[in-house]
């Protein structure tokens, strides 16, 4: 790691991507992620890479599929409505089993919504959003430093498993400025014998495609893919535990809301309430096991999110109804305050809420 620089979250993603060897960026501007494109536009020509502002999000994601098929590191970025437009292309990428990175710096929705931060694309990111049976690795950074380090990680995981990875951030994470130490080591190189790089008349040509007209073949392909997903679930779960050793209440929160929750937890601890937090860093694969274990010790869970309650469903599934799970949320571009989270912790601690 090198010198510290002061960066916006969006810039940190862009710079980390370039340092990870991503020399192909295709995008279309949308607030609050436009700095990624602006940064790429400035830097790519200087590092011999390609920045291209496509005619639409749909065009951009299909350009990503093209470069991914050629075996090169590639990414696109957008914010919520733009990611919806990319959904078809993302399914094609999943169906073609090629590695690529899509960044979603979320804003309030549905529809055009607003430009202020939100986490309301959780379902879209981890449950579907595109058509077909597929999973994608979803990483949720909670600092500008993680915007950079998880971008590096996302490219490595994408190449390692030939899978679509996603950074799920939000407007606050994209816009806030913090000191960052950037990666200075050479990116890890992965063999991609399937890449369509030209046969030079020396091998059989490679085909990257998601079309399988024979149902037996398509079923086999899906089974293979889900075997791969199982390996990922077993090996790539990432989470942070905070003051969980003696915790009776477990807060679950990711991204920007986990920072708000941390402040609230410190205040609650000062009041003698035994509360901790499990912060999922990978939203898929979800940290099911650690949550399930926590349910044996804790009396209640609180899911803090900037949506009407989306991750809370995964928390409930993870703990198999062992304990009640409460929701603490703000939506539409509003961020919960530490006071609001603290009030919820106190309420749950007193057994007030159902």
């Amino acid at each position: 790691m090198g010198e510290k620089v002061l960066m916006k979250g969006n810039e940190a993603i862009a710079e980390a991507a370039i340092r990870a060897g991503c020399l192909h960026y295709f995008g279309y501007p949308i607030t609050p992620q436009t700095e990624i494109a602006a940064y790429m536009a400035k830097r790519m020509p200087k590092v011999g890479g390609v920045f291209l502002q496509a005619e639409s999000e749909i065009a951009a994601i299909n350009m990503v599929l093209g470069v991914a098929a050629a075996g090169k590191r590639v990414m696109t970025s957008s914010s919520s409505p733009g990611v919806s437009l990319k959904s078809e292309g993302m399914s094609y990428i999943s169906g073609s089993d090629v590695p690529a990175l899509v960044v979603n710096v979320q804003r309030g929705g549905p529809g055009l919504g607003g430009i202020q931060p939100s986490q309301s694309d959780y379902f879209q990111a981890v449950k579907g959003g595109s058509h077909g049976d597929y999973k994608r690795i979803v990483l949720a950074p909670a600092s500008v430093q993680e915007m950079a380090s998880l971008t590096t990680k996302a490219f490595d995981l994408a190449d390692k498993y030939s899978i679509l990875t996603m950074i799920l951030a939000d407007g606050t994470m994209g816009q806030m400025m913090e000191p960052v130490e950037l990666e200075t080591t050479e990116p890890v190189k992965y063999e991609k014998p399937w890449a369509t790089t030209g046969t030079k008349m020396q091998r059989k040509h490679n085909i990257v495609n998601s079309l399988y007209l024979k149902p037996e073949e398509l079923e086999k392909k899906n089974f293979e893919r889900f075997a791969k997903y199982k390996t990922i679930e077993e090996n790539e779960v990432m989470y942070e535990e905070y003051l969980m050793d003696d915790a009776e209440i477990c807060v679950v929160s990711f991204g920007i809301t986990s920072r708000v929750a941390k402040n609230a937890i410190v205040e609650a601890r000062a009041k003698g309430i035994k509360v901790g937090m499990i912060r999922p860093i990978t939203l898929w694969p979800f940290p099911t096991e650690v949550l399930n274990k926590a349910a044996d010790k804790c009396k209640a869970f609180i899911s803090v999110e900037m949506n009407m309650g989306q991750m809370i469903e995964d928390v409930k599934l993870a703990i198999e109804c062992k304990k009640p799970v409460h929701l603490c949320c703000r939506v539409g571009g509003m961020i919960p305050s530490p006071e609001e989270v603290l009030a919820k912790i106190e309420e749950v601690n007193e057994g007030g809420e159902r």
Partner: protein, 220 residues
């Protein structure tokens, strides 16, 4: 610290212009009856001078900003009453320009009036800890791009080199060399070195013209 009737703050993206402009307005208000600050940022709809509306109003400083600022309407609109600060010469005016050359295009529309009056300072805000301006050479490049787009030449430099809330005294001192080099390359003086208020007292004359920043924008 001497000042002109009109002070313009421009610089690279995320260099800290808005924060300094707001603090400078509060500083000038101690000397002048009538102080006006204008938000000409058409680049970033997220962080605006209007975020500090309460403090500015309380201090009796007039804020001119786009009617769309902070309304979340993502429109690159300019406030209609900018010309009033150029016509009303009884007021001391501060202009907060958007980042990079893209932000400075908005300035091109007012430069004739500003130059005709010829009572202005055009300040380049420099933070060597930002990734695209790590040294004097890259900052000079941005400086020239802004001058071309905004059609006004810089008259001095503000060294705002910082790492946010984690800035140490040493970080600031380490930036002096780059700032001096930029001063040398551009032929412009360093008007001030800005540091957060809690750091300002820790210096013992290592740096000239320290300007403490009282208000800091803070999110989670």
């Amino acid at each position: 610290m001497e000042n002109k009737r009109v002070t313009l703050f421009a610089g690279h993206y995320g260099s800290g212009k808005t924060n300094i402009a707001v603090n400078y307005a509060l500083h000038l208000k101690e000397k002048y009856e009538k102080v006006v600050i204008t938000d000409l940022d058409i680049v970033n709809p997220y962080f605006r001078t209007a975020d500090s509306l309460e403090e500015l109003t309380k201090a009796g400083i007039k804020l001119i900003s786009s009617e769309f600022a902070n309304s979340n309407v993502d429109l690159p609109a300019l406030p209609q009453d900018v010309y009033s600060i150029l016509d009303d010469r009884s007021a001391v005016a501060i202009l907060d320009i958007g980042g990079d050359d893209r932000g400075a295009y908005a300035l091109g529309r007012y430069e004739t009036a500003i130059r005709e009056e010829n009572d202005y300072e055009m300040l380049f805000v420099f933070n060597m800890y930002r990734p695209l301006t790590p040294d004097a050479g890259s900052a000079l490049e941005v400086m020239k791009e802004i001058e071309t787009a905004g059609k006004i030449k810089f008259t001095a430099i503000v060294n705002n080199s910082n790492l946010g809330a984690l800035t140490t005294k040493e970080d600031v001192i380490a930036s002096v060399k780059s700032a001096d080099e930029l001063s040398h390359l551009s032929g412009l003086p360093i008007k001030m070195t800005t540091v957060s208020e809690n750091l300002a007292n820790s210096f013992n004359g290592e740096i000239d013209n320290i300007f403490p920043l009282k208000l800091q924008k803070k999110i989670v």
